[in-house]
Subunit: 663 residues, 2 copies
């Protein structure tokens, strides 16, 4: 069970208070609200937008610039054939069922889960047990069905619990059987819902005026990167391994999106596709730089045993123990951890959870999620999947494009193998229309089979072979038209399809978790609502500096303008608040926006040009001339110094209480 | 007629050479090429992607940061009702016709134009006139119909020319009539095409599992900004004027997209919506900062008189002469000009063209386009429209949301007016079910009508009023239930719907024009192909520094790594090229990528740590220690210094010819 969510300072997190604040400061807002809104669509207002841009900026520096990744920007519009090949047309679906009375459409797995859990809850109440506050898992978020205190047979309780433990294992028909077997009526209508039907999560459209080219809005940015693999390899002068990266919107037509940024229909992703040679254990040449990074891991086996105990372990040790499969996967998990730390995620609310076999996407062979603890429980924010050679292979097979690496071997490799030799001129006339099928069947034989068949052909002068698609399914082939030869040959190049390690970031989920992790409240003396603060690191904060004049006199105006211009010249965003509110109120408004620094312009500034600089979190202040204050701001914003550094360098200022109203 | 396109150095622009180079260096590439591609969709490779990111970064600084604009990020998915209200569902369409034989779909206006022009061309040939190389207008780009030398009557020539001059004026039915009247058969099939049908340019989809919420992919980012107007005004603490801004993808299902980035179906836009009080002449408080900026203008009247003569004039003078309608519009035209100059657009290939009345979008009341001269003629890259109060008004009317500004008046305003007084208790029983209609009709009367009706009521004791929706359409109302009173009242607030000035940037078109404007070729001695160079300003260039070791010896490796890391620390992108190609070849590869600076690491570097820095354009070099070289790079990349500055500060280096192969 997850601990109840807390603020940055360990206070119980008052979610309604936070939500009011986010709305008031326009971090994000339901799209098309004046038209009644559309579920799962949100717009970012100025602070949210800036926060998003700063996260992306740090992401680009941390990943793309640091590792010379090849960034690409591919289209959202994607023709049907591409997503058919990738498996999304057939497999990127959820099961939904419909209530015949009120027409409500529900995710079938969530529906079964909610009702069984409500019955178990009711059983506990009837047995007089204390009802636990169940951990909410946002991946399985559902409307909680209301429980009635009805006692169940012990055997039934056990059966329900077993079903719930395996809920991700059932497909649509199986969920439909459960609904009938346990008579899972919709509490809202008293009706059984329809049989579950597959609902593809992609938005469909058609491209061009003919309406004859069906297409989709991409569900991930990855496919565009895979399709460009050969060009990217060429751009990289054939060097391996290398990574491509892409930042862009993706779309999923969720059956039931929830309020907030955690399950939406349009979202910004940042994805890396790291292409690596599958041979040689997927080593990474910079692994030693991160091997001592400690991660909190929740592995597959622990989960299968029904537990959620995590383990804090260095990446080096985890790879050694094969807990994490290989160096490249470990390298990226550590790099993800370092990125999240840098932007201000609370590390005590971060874990890496390994996917269980049955919950992985159709293309993945291993996957770890970076999950963050929020008021909605543990939320998956970054996935790090090993997609193996799946995508490159299926696209190459479909299109014939060589999505492979050709590697010059240091020394030629000697290959010994059985080869099939067909006497084409005679072979055709013997098998006529079946010739192609028979030839294919011969070519498909393995080395072991060929060795056996060679012996048979030598001894009997003919062989009998299973051939699909011809009359009676068997062909008899004589040594007149066929031979097997054992050949030794020398190979200078090696051709392989790279494997792909894919770190995939949901920027909206990270942004929301970041808000919760940096939120806390400052006590107030009076009866007012606790005052919210967002303690974003200066690099990430939407606005860096609030400029507050202590008076609205004309002599302050040129000072404000000059200071704004200088900050702008440094590329630092600032806001002037020359409203008539008290200085305290003005600062508190900007605490809510997460503005880390404040400059007060007072009467002494007019005299000697000195400025006070205030730290949002400690509310302590320093005072110095403009040059030194600007230098301090620059070093705080680029992350090279902390407030403690600045406090030790510049004179402390305590001459004036901030909460005094403007003179 | 446009002059033929030239390179940055005035050479004739060899477009096939440029295109080969852009493809080789993966600036952009057709999307889904291994699946055969989709017309109008392109992916950006690493240099294109970086170029795009740098343009956006400069845009954010130049507009959003400089002017404290409120950036928002709204969804692409947009429900039907919003775009119905905005007029896009009904009016955002082109007329298309279809060839009944080969099924080809063509834009009707382009079709008529192409065939008439071919006939006029044929006439000239038949008359033995020299055939001019007609200017290509990419807005009207079409397949050129092949001309046959057939002489036309003088009257027919005049008629065709008049039709062509007004081609933007015809709607679908009129274009259909022209096709029949002039028997405009498709040269490819000899058939008359179908009657033109309206084809809406928006991509349609449906949102949610019910398929009952039709939606579109937005055709512009503007609507999301308008819908958030009230929240943004509130965020801005009710201050006016202010601007919102948005950077994001938009979509138009073009009937016939062309090769290249100039007419595509998915594109990145950067749009500003500047909200301004329509009263007081739309002044701008920073106008004096830009009033001396000189613009090249092609105004509406000049175009209507059939000419394309431009005029170079300061913004101040143009506004004074009312050539540009108001200060705010002029301010943004100047700011657009300055932005384009900053990113490296060739100002001799830039003009601002005013829209003619018949070519404006349905929402615009005035519009100027920043057009750039390219190998495809003059290309519209930035639009700057005055959308008046159109959008806010229609959305407010449809939803009832108050998309208005309420302004406290400095002194109360006295209003004298006739008011309607209804004796509710008696009025209802008299008119029964018609009461609401009669009341509405009374409330809808104008001040003039009320004055007349008051007189009539006073004299006759009753009035007769036209009322829609009631039996016989007239109501007789007596003074028992009705009175008109002349009232004087004092008003403290003014309510108005702001006007919108909208600068709207097509980033892909700007990016492509920027490439052409910065392209030139360096002569070579041998018979090789001329070597392409892209002279992007350092702030905009995709990669800033190429690092070239003169030898592949091991002692160079730590130097390369250290230097890369230091540049990364400064946020400057670099590439190491330690391939075995000659130094000259390696630099020439990076000239094609537009990399402005090169560092050579040679044997002296190993001894004393000094480095040479090379300028892409002049190929001259300086040499200094690492600290000074890094400082020079930083100042060049942030735009604070030019190469001439660096050359005057650091010792010139001529010790080594670059085109000598690596030792």
């Amino acid at each position: 069970m997850a601990a109840p969510a807390t603020t940055l300072k360990g206070q119980p997190l008052d979610k309604p208070l936070l939500e009011r604040m986010l709305r008031r400061r326009m971090f994000y807002t339901p799209s098309f609200e004046i038209y009644g809104g559309v579920a799962g669509l949100y717009d970012y207002g100025p602070p949210g937008c800036s926060l998003q841009a700063n996260i992306i900026d740090q992401w680009r520096k941390h990943f793309i610039l640091e590792e010379d990744m090849l960034e690409v920007d591919c289209t959202v519009l994607t023709p049907h054939d591409v997503l058919k090949t990738s498996g999304h047309v057939d497999k990127f679906a959820d099961w939904m069922c419909k209530d015949p009375k009120n027409g409500e459409i529900m995710r079938a797995d969530h529906y079964v889960e909610a009702i069984l859990e409500a019955r178990l809850q009711g059983d506990k109440e009837a047995r007089g047990k204390k009802v636990e506050d169940k951990e909410e898992d946002p991946k399985k978020k559902k409307k909680k069905a209301k429980s009635e205190a009805v006692k169940l047979d012990d055997a039934v309780v056990q059966e329900y619990e077993e079903v719930l433990a395996r809920i991700d294992n059932y497909d649509g028909p199986a969920l439909g059987e459960l609904i009938k077997k346990y008579d899972l009526k919709n509490p809202a209508t008293g009706m059984l819902p329809s049989d579950p039907a597959a609902f593809n999560l992609m938005f469909q459209t058609s491209i061009g005026p003919n309406s004859n080219l069906p297409g989709y809005m991409r569900p991930e940015t990855a496919q565009g990167q895979f399709l460009n693999f050969a060009k990217l390899l060429d751009f990289n002068q054939s060097g391996m391994p290398f990574a491509s990266a892409s930042i862009g919107k993706s779309y999923r037509n969720e059956i039931s999106p929830r309020a907030g940024l955690l399950r939406v229909r349009e979202f910004l992703m940042a994805e890396i596709e790291h292409f690596v040679d599958p041979q040689g254990g997927k080593k990474h040449h910079r692994f030693q730089e991160i091997e001592n990074v400690e991660l909190v891991l929740l592995d597959r086996d622990t989960q299968l045993s029904g537990k959620t105990d995590t383990r804090k372990i260095t990446v080096g040790q985890a790879v050694k123990e094969k807990l994490i499969d290989n160096e490249t996967l470990g390298y990226f998990l550590a790099r993800i951890h370092l990125f999240l730390e840098k932007i201000g995620i609370d590390l005590s609310k971060l874990r890496f959870r390994q996917h269980m076999a049955n919950e992985m996407a159709h293309y993945a062979c291993d996957c770890w999620d970076a999950e963050m603890l929020t008021t909605s429980g543990w939320v998956e924010c970054v996935g790090c999947a090993d997609r193996s050679a799946y995508d490159l292979s299926v696209h190459a097979k479909k299109t014939g494009a060589p999505l492979v690496v050709r590697e010059q071997l240091a020394e030629p490799q000697i290959i010994e193998e059985w080869q099939v030799r067909i006497e084409k001129k005679k072979f055709g006339p013997v098998f006529k229309k079946d010739a192609k099928n028979v030839e294919d069947a011969l070519e498909a034989t393995s080395q072991e089979q060929r060795e056996k068949l060679a012996k048979e052909l030598g001894e009997a002068g003919k062989i009998s072979l299973d051939v699909a698609g011809i009359a009676n399914g068997k062909a008899e082939i004589s040594k007149d038209v066929l031979a097997f030869e054992f050949v030794k040959r020398s190979v200078n190049t090696r051709e392989y399809t790279p494997n792909v390690i894919e770190p995939s970031f949901g920027i909206g989920r990270i942004l929301y978790s970041l808000i919760e992790h940096n939120f806390w409240t400052r006590g107030v003396d009076g009866g007012d609502e606790a005052r919210g603060v967002l303690s974003f690191p200066p690099t990430i904060a939407p606005i860096k500096v609030l400029i507050v004049p202590i008076s609205s006199k004309d002599e302050f105006k040129p000072l404000l303008k000059g200071l704004s211009q200088k900050l702008r010249g440094l590329g630092i965003s600032s806001r002037v608040d020359d409203s008539s509110a008290s200085i305290g109120k003005r600062y508190s408004r900007n605490d809510e926006l997460g503005t880390p620094l404040g400059i007060t312009i007072d009467f002494q500034t007019v005299q000697d040009g000195s400025l006070t600089l205030r730290d949002r979190d400690s509310m302590s202040q320093v005072r110095a001339d403009e040059t030194r204050i600007l230098e301090a701001i620059r070093s705080l914003v680029d992350g090279s110094k902390t407030w403690a550094d600045i406090e030790s360098e510049l004179p402390k200022f305590e001459g004036q209480e901030l909460d005094v109203a403007a003179r």
